[in-house]
Amino acid sequence: MAQTIDLQQLTQREYPYGFTTEIEADTAPRGLDENVIRLISAKKEEPEFLLEWRLRAYRHWLTLTEPRWPNVRYDPIDYQNIIYYSAPKAKGAGPKSLDEVDPALRGMFDKLGISLAEQERLSGVALDAVVDSVSVATSFKSKLGELGIIFCSFSEAAKDHPDLVRRYLGSVVPATDNFFAALNSAVFSDGSFCYIPKGVRCPMELSTYFRINAADTGQFERTLIIAEPGSYVSYLEGCTAPRRDNNQLHAAVVEIYAHDDAEVKYSTVQNWYPGDRNGKGGIYNFVTKRGKCAGKNSKISWTQVETGSAITWKYPSVMLIGDGSVGEFYSVAVTNHYQQADTGTKMIHVGKNTKSTIVSKGISAGHGQNTYRGLVRVTGGATGARNYSQCDSLLIGDDCGAHTVPYLDVRNTSSQVEHEASTSRISEDQLFYCRQRGLGTEDAVNLIVNGYCKEVFRHLPMEFAVEAQKLLGVSLEGSVG
């Protein structure tokens, strides 16, 4: 195991900014076995079925090997050297004030226009009371409650709504789905649960940002969204503020289940710590996200802006089961410095007259490597299915890479599948034109890149889109000249 990264060592070395990792008494021993899983389930006071589910996932995980097909490189992960359960951080564990936070991180907060109170929350400054967000969250919750919408942590849902959890957990991403999904199923710490009753249109965007402690859900997050017939919800995950975490490996699972005529819009801005300029450190973000359009005329739409993480491995997908259902995937993925991303989507057409749209915009700068990997499958029964895919890559500089790996598997002759791909560079002419009109080089790059991503940004909720534009600029800082 000479090559194996000692995760603990590595994370400690990478966080010289006052983030402490004091081990408290309420922590599972390092490594993973059935006892650790029993401990997690017991600590969370989970119903019996959930423990059984976790154990089945674990036993299956033992039979799997880590996937090596993604176009990313990293040293082997020692899964026995991870701590899988740790009680929520006690007060005082974080930095005492913003003065103790990395100045580079604070500079980024300022550029993104994040308030001081929010900066304190995001950088884990120990506060006696989280003022703003608590009151906001509480008022949200009562308003949602009146409509019968459930929006809470996964742990709460397991206790308060076990029937729903039991029925839907694993119904979209089975515990046995893949190596990382199985691991998540065995050890998931917490996450979000969202239930929209029949015919209800959720009147506000549901954001993990407003759920208390959302930033502390840990490295194995689990999200489950259920949309009953005729309901609608727009769900936002993440925020544009940079997020640091002492755990290097993140393996989350998101499941969305849409009944007849239901619509779920899921928007992500992912800005985990990407590592330093030389590619040291950073989060490994290995995520399984999938939606099931189970009902007829249902719709699931993924929009993602991925700027963070050292390695991103994720393919938000839609299973189009119900006749006339619609799946969409709009993505901007940025890799700068030594970041690597292997991301895309899967659209599985099963129902008749199902439709899917894929728009992927990859941006590579520095030594970044960006791969689009997408599957469009039209099964034999999917008469009249249609897909449109557009995969564009933008290169900034000479040391980066862009790769496009589309898989098409069409078994119905009445279907229509279109794929367009392009690779381009920011041209000297474009840069000079902008500079001749008075824009500095970085502003010019920002403008050109934002124009390139416009098709994706317009699918984000307005405020999120504005923030995402700023974030893109910050992420690409220093990539030209």
Binding site: F432, Y433, Q436, G438
Partner: protein
């Protein structure tokens, strides 16, 4: 007041000398036309003045409002009031024309220590200017130069000039690719932007443009240097006799 003073300018591109000792003085309020055959260095002159990469100044100096122009980055030249009307305006997909122009205006205003314009005020201003230039309002919302006809691109350059209000405007073959009606309109629009505080350099192949935009001075560039200068009459003689005639004239002494 002297707006631009070019002295003994030598410049090369890809190691090949193109400008070889060019001298030119342009005062505020003046319009100068620079004419010359292909390859004489007209566009190189425009590029060097605007600071485009790929050109190396090997000798000489350029003073803009009395200050060294060549030491400034392209964006600083622009913010100081130097505008280049591009021969081939560049497309920027996904960026609305007005958004681009507002970013430019605000970069310049910020440089001058002025407040940035808010989007509504700016839009009203641009609409008024576009109307004066006969530009269709739907071009304002479209991506910069994308899908524009040749004439629309050139008019869009003049719209930018009219909004950015430069002190020194260099128009590089703004007439190329325009039909006769468009030419008249564009020339008329530039004529309308003449101002006692502004100098305009018009680079052109053809005398036609100068029928509508009457220059104070006409210079003939050949072999990287100005071989002769005169008033509007020189352009007419050129049209009659060709550039070979001008190149054969005895050179004026360095100004």
């Amino acid at each position: 007041m002297t707006m631009l003073s070019i002295r003994n300018l030598h410049a090369e591109a890809a190691g090949k000398p193109i400008l070889r000792g060019l001298d030119l003085e342009i005062g505020a309020g003046e319009v100068h036309a620079i004419m010359g055959p292909n390859g004489s260095g007209k566009s190189t002159l425009a590029s060097v003045l605007a600071g485009r990469d790929g050109y190396k100044v090997t000798a000489g100096e350029v003073l803009y409002q009395g200050k060294d122009l060549l030491s400034l980055a392209p964006e600083l030249r622009a913010r100081e009031g130097v505008f280049l009307g591009f021969q081939h305006p560049v497309e920027i997909p996904g960026v609305a024309n007005t958004y681009f122009l507002r970013a430019a205006v605000n970069a310049i205003r910020k440089h001058r220590g002025e407040e940035e314009l808010d989007p509504m005020d700016f839009l009203a201003l641009v609409k008024r200017k576009a109307k004066a230039l006969g530009l269709s309002p739907d071009l304002l919302g479209r991506p910069v130069n994308q899908g524009f006809s040749g004439g629309e691109k050139k008019r869009n350059e003049i719209l930018q000039m009219s909004v950015l209000e430069p002190r020194l405007a260099i128009l590089d073959e703004t007439d190329s690719g325009l039909d006769i009606d468009a030419l008249r309109e564009v020339a008329g629009a530039v004529q309308g932007l003449r101002d006692s505080a502004r100098a305009i350099v018009v680079i052109t192949h053809h005398q036609r443009l100068l029928d509508y935009l009457v220059p104070d001075r006409v210079h003939v560039l050949s072999g990287g240097t100005i071989v002769t200068s005169g008033d509007k009459g020189l352009a007419i003689e050129l049209e009659k006799n060709g550039y070979a005639w001008a190149a054969a004239l005895p050179q004026e002494g360095a100004a």
